[in-house]
Subunit: 350 residues, 2 copies
DNA sequence: TTGTATGCGTTATCAA
DNA sequence: TTGATAACGCATACAA
């Protein structure tokens, strides 16, 4: 990077990081007044205000966030920790979350935990240390210590992507188990009896576990022995979905329907099936979960569960803002997740 | 959120946000010693250190980031501002960037500008105010004021996703123009003469402009009048890609090949073509750019340009770390982006 | 090896 | 409406 040489050719000394004091000096007022101009402009006279603002602009002044947080103990910053940014699973929800925050003048800091509870705990501490006023978290699975940390610090937080009324924490989301059960019942009602599930690792991921339970529920209600369900746990990625399907197709008996824990896995499975010359859904049915954009454009389009991404994001923001403002934490809110039938699920070939 | 009631039943007062002083008091040393335990453990005796660390744990102490930054004026935090998190365009590169930073004990703060220079400028200020030691930026297009701000503050930064040796700034990336030109030449060499381009908005997006120029270059070298290129500018999204193709197909003459500014647009175009009953590439050819994961799984797989995502991310991290450590900014680095031929490009039907 | 004291850039309380 | 000045929590130069 090229640095501009220190040019003393003009009278104004180029301050690397101008402070309140620099601005105050240049405009002939106290630092207190400058601070007021920035935070509470209405109480300072029009005349001095304009003079101060001019100095601010001229110096390129920007407040030091750390110092401000230290003195004011409120940062107007929220944090969000999502399991992954690699694919679009959380993108739409996060976008809505951020839009609602911005509408309220709040900045969002995002971190990704790579589905690791340990990393997530670090990220939480980091965000809190950075002064996050409130946090958005995904799912309930984390250590008691993490929750203790949050409670002690009295950091408002909301759990998204799940709805769970037996949890004492405020959450906003949908019933993963019920949603997956509805989908699995549709699969079974299409005549499939040989089922498999490709899921994320269940440990540390309550959404995945609930979806898994949902499949078992459906099998039970349809009078099928749930122990025959073949399950492959793998990290969410297209290629892992493809590999998992390959493995399943080498097994015996082959599944006639493969449920996937999310659309990314399903997209991979789909592409694998097709590259092995299988017709979907003629030879094998495949379903997804989440209804992200790729679900519509793969061939055939995925039968999946539509998740209320934007409503969760926006709702979480509102809950959090209310909490941050000292309002009593409201009850958890349940949103609907509904099965959307497209073409990747068909009748059982048998 | 449920807050634990203030319980005075045990002797230890529950401090909401324990400070260095709390830790010092509890372990009977000075705050300086506690600070040393945390930042420079080797200089403090084994005995006191363990006592201090115990207090740290017991109190759930975590350093206040703002205060630390204020006192130490280094944060070990880098920032990255990417145009979008909605799709996977920058995900892999960012992931590699973050991995390399983590390996060096540096935390990454991410912000998204939604392709808006104004928003980006705000984000830059915000990250700098938060103490970011260095920044990763995408592309060159931003206001002179933004660059002045960066220079004055002496914030090291690197421009990624482009390579441009006539720019004075350190960049790491590939030659967008050359890469797109190579792809367009392949298209022309397949016999296509009726071309269209679906691109991101050109204003404020130098990558998109360079790719556009690349198409024109190819037409010129193949002796074709570049003014016949039909161009649609639209925001990157699958549905916009689909809509754009629809528009193109209503025009006359219909294009036989549609180049897309990135894979997301191409995926949308592809799905639109198929839903209109067109065979790809039999009836129409479609190409992408970026080679993100969906490029491989759509039907047919996309002929596209493979972009060195991970190398850019990792390389950018290394450059930035070196700069932060006071080393002279090295020259820009050019990486290769090569055409990958899959199935969405075929001979011209005419 | 440890402690004391000072300053980092803001906000906020109190006077003027 | 404005100005001193005391925190805020931490790192560090300097003493001990």
């Amino acid at each position: 990077m090229k640095m501009a040489p220190d040019s003393d050719q003009n009278t104004q000394h180029a301050t690397v990081s101008p402070t309140l004091e620099d601005v105050a000096e240049r405009s002939g007022v106290s630092t207190a007044t400058v601070s007021r101009c920035l935070n509470n402009p209405s109480v300072v006279s029009e005349k001095t205000r304009s003079r101060v603002m001019e100095a601010v602009k001229a110096l390129g002044y920007a407040p030091n966030f750390g110092a401000r947080a230290l003195a004011a103990k409120r940062t107007n910053t929220f944090g969000a920790i999502i399991p992954t940014m690699e694919n679009a699973i959380f993108a739409r929800g996060l976008q809505a979350f951020q839009e609602e925050l911005e509408r309220n003048g709040i900045t969002l800091l995002v971190a990704s935990s790579s589905y690791s509870p340990e990393l997530e705990e670090k990220q939480i501490q980091s965000l809190v240390a950075r002064g996050a006023d409130a946090l958005l978290l995904i799912g309930h699975d984390r250590s008691p210590e993490t929750y203790e940390f949050l409670e002690r610090r009295q950091i408002p937080y909301v759990i998204a992507w799940v709805y769970d009324d037996d949890q004492s924490r405020t959450s906003i989301g949908f019933d993963n188990r019920k949603a997956m059960r509805a989908l699995a019942e549709k699969v079974l009602d299409s005549g499939h009896r040989s089922l498999a599930l490709i899921t994320a690792e269940l440990e540390g991921n309550d959404r995945a576990r609930q979806r898994y339970e949902g499949v078992l529920d459906a099998m039970k209600t349809r009078g099928i022995d749930p122990t025959i369900l073949r399950t492959i746990e793998t990290h969410y990625s297209i290629s892992n979905g493809a590999n998992a399907l390959k493995t399943l197709l080498e097994s015996n008996p082959k599944p006639t329907a493969v449920l996937c824990g999310n659309d990314v896995l399903a997209a991979g499975a789909l592409s694998q099936a097709r590259s092995q010359g299988l017709d979907v859904p003629g030879d094998i049915s495949i379903t997804g979960f989440d209804d992200i954009e790729i679900a519509e454009i793969v061939t055939p389009p995925l039968t999946t569960v539509h998740v209320p991404h934007r409503d969760m994001g926006k709702g979480a923001a509102r809950l959090l803002i209310a909490m941050r403002n000292g309002e009593e934490a409201g009850p958890s809110v349940e949103l609907d997740a509904i099965v959307v039938e497209r073409d990747s699920l068909g009748k059982s070939p048998c």
